[in-house]
Amino acid sequence: MDFFLQLVATGLAVGMLYGFMAAAIVAIIKSSGVFNFAHASIVVLGASVFWTLLVQFGLPMWVCIILLFPFSLLLAIVIERLILRPLTGQPLLSVVMATIALGVVIESAQVMIWPGMYRVYQPPVIPPGSIRLGPVSFGTTEVATFLVCLVCLGIFAWIFMRTRMGLAMRAVAEDHQLARAHAIKVERIFLVAWVVAIFAASVCGVLTASIYGVNANISGIGLYAFPAIIFGGMESIRGAVIGGIALGILANLAGGYLDHYVGGGLKEVMPYIIMLLVLMVKPYGLFGYERIERV
């Protein structure tokens, strides 16, 4: 039982991270209809930029976090204006492929600018240690990851549900033309969604990198957001968070209990296996819309 609780607890922390990343991607899908495959690469880029600010420039941490905002704004403008605006009205594959190619470009640029394998945050973003709670012990990184994601998601939800900007975002998600008719600047909403998503990705990157170190491989963690989105449904932010948590826990449990029988590494592919099953059984996810189409 203790083993089970331990697995669930660590799965919860990782799942929250997946969920947070997935929520950022869903925010972009909902506003501009673009599925951002480059998200995983942006996670790495954000972590690397943060490393430069923190370690190379030696800035205090809160300054670094604030400086992630202009970084997000800049990247969002570049992506939105230079790449996605010209692709408006192009078929789905073009947009999908554009974000994939963008991801490759960002990732290889990251490798070129920050060569070498492994960097750590100095001073550490989250002080190492562990907390005991009954039979279960948590690493401080896990607890901090969970809490930061929770707080960020809370702010995210507040902006989305309680502010004028959030109302505009929801209106744009509903219908571009209607939103435009109500004097909402749809293009600006796209940009806001991208800024928020890139900032969220950077925060995720910093959290992931404080566990695994800054290197190009952490984009693999970012890729787990995709199964989370499919699990929760493409159009639902709540679904994405729930999907992320569920996948984190399920993958951890599968890794803990089944690895012994299949020879290890199940934790890494489990999200994709679950995703394939979900796609076959309930393709629109837990909270997604089932599309009714007309010719």
């Binding site: 594959l93 190619a101 963008l102 290889s108 490798v111 199964p227 592919v269 995703m275 394939l276």
Partner: protein, 350 residues
């Protein structure tokens, strides 16, 4: 666009791939140049590049039928290649089968795998299909690593040399003839699939699957057939690749490779067989070009050279794909058509 003054009076003429006498002449000249002049004058290195291009052409012909014609995005082409490569390598090294006996086996296994990962397309389209093929890119390597007795795990699986009668294929030139023969035959098959009833059904499903189903096309069956064809092409390409380099190894079939294959059909032109050939040649030569200039760049910028060496090729390729998407989404094939129609009227365009 067809040449001025050429009129089709029979259905056969309308459907034919090679329409005019001039096209026949050009085709024969091209094939002669390809099979006689190129191996005569090209050095070993360039023959090796040509061989890789030919394998790429085989692989992305399938991808173009699936993605370009049938509209199903596949992010797992390299994984499907991996299946073919390992099937061929395992059948030869463990069961002692001949290369030529392996090929039908590769086709059968590829069809099965295509069925498994195409099955979600029963209820899905668009992003979702991309996702299920992305899953293939993770699940297949994992499965292969976990049967180390057969696949050799992370060390890969060696392949025996290919024999035809008493002849062994071991030089680049001999391989050139083998691979190029495959590429030409498979191109002809792909071209014929594309213009047949099945190919028209693919296009109908791509443009609107709902409308296609109203027209009486069995959408799921069409998609599954597209997946199987794509996976067979990938499997054959992968099998040839494994035998060509002598080993089937996971590292040659990464997600990045799948992305380059998609990039090739975008650069070449989606929904055109000739485009596949242009795209494969263009991107493979670009990879070759970046490999050539990297040492020179590293001398020019010694400070960042370590990362530059590993990052420059994907950076350039990604950028080129992005630029093509933004400025010429119809690909090189479209440019080729423009060039042809310009040439027809030259030098008096009006």
């Amino acid at each position: 666009m067809r040449p001025c003054g050429t009129f089709d009076v029979k259905y056969n003429q309308d459907m034919s791939v090679v329409r005019t006498r001039f096209q026949w002449v050009m085709l024969v000249v091209f094939l002669l140049a390809l099979f006689i002049l190129l191996p005569l004058f090209a050095s070993g290195h360039w023959l090796a590049v040509t061989n890789l291009i030919a394998i790429d052409i085989i692989v992305i012909l399938g991808l173009n039928l699936l993605t370009g014609y049938c509209g199903q995005i596949s992010l797992g082409q390299a994984a499907f290649m991996m299946v073919g490569a390992y099937t061929g390598a395992i059948a030869a090294s463990k069961a002692g089968l001949d290369f030529w006996v392996c090929l039908p086996l590769v086709i059968v296994v590829s069809i099965l795998v295509g069925l498994i990962f195409g099955a979600p397309s029963l209820r899905l389209k668009g992003f979702y299909i991309a996702m299920s093929t992305l899953a293939a890119q993770y699940i297949i390597p994992w499965a292969i690593i976990h049967i180390p007795n057969l696949s050799g795990g992370v060390f890969g699986c060696h392949t025996p040399p290919v024999k035809l009668g008493s002849m062994t294929f071991d030089t680049e030139r001999e391989w050139f003839y083998l691979i190029m023969t495959f590429a030409v035959i498979l191109t002809v098959i792909a071209k014929n699939i594309a213009r047949s009833k099945l190919g028209k059904a693919f296009i109908a499903v791509r443009d609107s699957d709902l409308a296609a189903s109203i027209l009486g096309i069995n959408v799921f069956r069409t998609k599954i057939i597209a997946f199987s064809i794509c996976s067979v092409y990938a499997g054959l390409g992968g099998c040839l690749f494994a035998y060509y380099i002598g080993i089937a190894h996971l590292e040659h079939f990464s997600l990045l490779n799948s992305i380059w294959y998609l990039g090739m059909i975008i650069v070449g032109g989606m929904g055109s067989i000739a485009g596949s050939i242009f795209g494969a040649a263009f991107l493979r030569l670009l990879i070759e070009f970046t490999a050539k200039i990297t040492p020179w760049l590293m001398q020019a910028a010694p400070g960042v050279s370590e990362g530059l060496a590993s990052g420059i090729a994907p950076f350039t390729l990604g950028l080129v794909i992005l630029l093509f998407l933004i400025f010429e989404p119809r690909g090189l094939y479209h440019r080729w058509e423009i060039a042809k129609s310009t040439m027809r009227l030259w030098p008096f365009p009006y």
